[in-house]
């Protein structure tokens, strides 16, 4: 009888010649060999040499499987098409057109019923749990929607605005997609990332896991794979403007505080204020625009933000007739 204890000692190199002989005899049986490897796996779990990052590597593996899967599907599709076009050419087209018309009609009428929509007002933040258990924070002046019926099978959401995602792996290992109006799509399996997508451009910051980014620049379809700690910015024409490493820990801060500045010029407020609070902004002096800000600011309400900003910068910042004015004292 070979026991687990005996084998563990053997793996560790603490066995006698006689014990090794005993193990060799035992291994002649196929069932013992399966058992041997099972215990070897367990031994490696109990006494590991090091701990690899399984989740990230699993993400890569899922992408690889997905890629080879896609090439298989496209081949199958081509051969199918050939057969059907030979046998029923005209019927096929007619049926296709009718189907297309009825389908688009169906889509138009039922989009509103089918889609779950969540929006945030200026200055509002919402914590949302999706049907698959994924969590996200939807920031000010943003819209998120997904298909109620189909979400279980195809995890796809549409985002316009800014949100922080914490996507769960699910048992079936289905992809999670975030689509935006800018024709930028993010594909993930299980990750944490922040996605900003508004008219002026898109920005993605990846905290954990792996992301694939698909976007259209002009007529060209492009794909970028992001690794943790990478940040990517696209302008309003989907041209890649920045690809840098950032400290992923910073994004934890972002969850607590609304605004994080990192050598950010004041001119950036011209985007941030209208996007987040729906107000116009006037900066009276070109030199002021060049001043940079660093740090995090609690700015859940506009007044908080104005107060901290003027305290830090020493500038006169005030609200007047629905606009924010920044002027030197």
């Amino acid at each position: 009888m070979i026991t687990k204890g005996l084998l563990f000692e053997y793996f560790a190199g603490n066995s006698t010649a006689l014990q090794r002989r005993m193990i060799e005899t035992w291994l002649e049986n196929e069932k013992s060999r399966n058992q041997y490897y099972e215990w070897l796996a367990e031994w490696e779990q109990v006494y590991p040499q090091y701990l690899p990052n399984v989740e990230i590597k699993l993400g890569e593996y899922l992408f690889q499987m997905d890629e080879s899967n896609n090439s298989k599907i496209s081949v199958a599709y081509k051969s199918n098409k050939k057969v059907s076009s030979q046998r029923f050419p005209k019927i096929g087209y007619a049926a296709g057109i009718i189907l297309f018309i009825s389908f688009s009609f169906y889509l138009l009428t039922f989009t509103n019923l089918l889609n779950k929509k969540i929006t945030t007002n200026f200055g509002e933040i919402k914590e949302i749990t999706l049907p698959d258990g994924s969590e996200l924070t939807l920031y000010s002046n943003s819209r998120l929607s997904w298909n109620r019926l189909n979400f279980k099978n195809r995890r796809i959401v549409q985002l316009d605005g800014e949100a922080n995602f914490k996507i769960k792996h699910n048992a079936k290992a289905t992809k999670f997609k975030v689509q935006s109006k800018n024709e930028v799509t993010i594909v993930v399996y299980g990750t944490e990332f922040r996605f900003f997508t508004r008219k002026r451009g898109s920005k993605i910051e990846l905290n954990k896991g792996l992301i694939k980014l698909h976007y259209k620049e002009g007529e060209n379809k492009k794909t970028i794979a992001l690794t943790p700690g990478e940040s990517i910015s696209l302008n309003n024409k989907n041209k890649l403007t920045q690809r840098i490493k950032f400290n992923p820990l910073r994004n934890i801060e972002i969850k607590k505080h609304r605004f994080v500045f990192d050598n950010t010029p004041l001119s950036e407020l011209k985007n941030l204020i209208p996007e987040n609070f729906g107000l116009g902004i006037v900066i009276k002096d070109k030199e002021i625009e060049k001043l940079t800000l660093s740090g995090t600011y609690t700015g859940n309400s506009l007044n908080d933000l104005i107060n901290s900003l003027s305290a830090v910068t020493g500038l006169n910042i005030y609200k007047h007739h629905g606009r924010i004015y920044i002027v030197p004292y």
């Binding site: 009888m1 026991t3 687990k4 204890g5 053997y10 793996f11 190199g13 090794r20 193990i23 060799e24 005899t25 291994l27 002649e28 049986n29 196929e30 069932k31 060999r33 399966n34 058992q35 041997y36 490897y37 099972e38 070897l40 796996a41 367990e42 490696e44 779990q45 590991p48 040499q49 090091y50 701990l51 690899p52 399984v54 590597k57 699993l58 890569e60 593996y61 899922l62 690889q64 499987m65 080879s68 899967n69 048992a171 079936k172 290992a173």
Partner: protein
């Protein structure tokens, strides 16, 4: 086949009970139930593979990836190479649909194959003469010989001893370079040694390992 085997095991278990009362303790401590649990997991995964291979691969990856890397690193002493070997193994498992053909348990297949791949890696890397019988590692269909398993375990011990027996500085340099994947320049700076010395240490370590592997051929 399976039924016969399980009967064999039951009879030996009974004999063990009768002949050696002490084995009773072992049976209680490490109940044979364990192998039934393995079977349950195997059956579950086999069913998953029939429906959705991706899900099957995901389950196997979750269960075995870390262990396989940890095992591979004992052979190749580099996290990066170990993870490459294990990653390739899983990709091959998926692309060539190995899961359809293997007759042994999934764990047995994965660990056996990873060992063979590691061995091939060391051999080609150290320019040591290769043992032909282990070359077609992935197409394994024939049952594995007990002496081959033992050979692998002994090889592992020899590598382990060889690395442990390296002079302390030489070992440190070797581990920083191979296991941590640090560049020779970085190590030179970290330890305050010249680049020449670092190169010499790594060369020495590799020579010693090479001779360890040749001994048994």
């Amino acid at each position: 086949m399976d039924q016969e085997n399980s009967q064999n095991i039951k009879t030996t278990e009974k004999e063990g009970l009768i002949n050696h009362p002490s084995s009773l303790v072992f049976i209680e401590k490490f109940p044979l139930k364990n192998s039934d649990e393995i079977d349950e997991f195997e059956i579950l995964i086999r069913k998953k593979f029939e429906v959705d291979p991706t899900e099957g691969c995901t389950l196997l990856f979750r269960k075995y990836y870390a262990g396989l890397c940890s095992h591979a690193v004992r052979f190749v002493y580099s996290k990066e190479i170990a993870e490459d070997i294990v990653g390739d193994l899983f990709l091959d498992f998926w692309k060539n649909q190995r899961f359809e053909k293997i007759k042994v348990s999934y764990g047995a297949y994965l660990f056996r194959t990873v060992r063979n791949r590691c061995l091939n890696h060391i051999k080609s890397n150290l320019n040591a003469p290769s043992k032909n019988s282990l070359n077609d590692s992935d197409e394994i269909q024939e049952p594995e010989l007990p002496e081959d398993i033992i050979y692998m375990d002994e090889l592992l011990q020899r590598i382990n001893f060889a690395v442990n027996d390296l002079p302390p500085v030489c070992r440190k340099v070797f581990l920083l370079n191979r296991f941590e994947g640090k560049k020779q320049k970085e190590i030179a700076q970290e330890l305050g040694l010249s680049l020449r010395t670092i190169e010499a240490h790594i060369y020495k370590a590799l020579q010693l390992l090479k001779s360890t592997l040749k001994e048994k051929e």
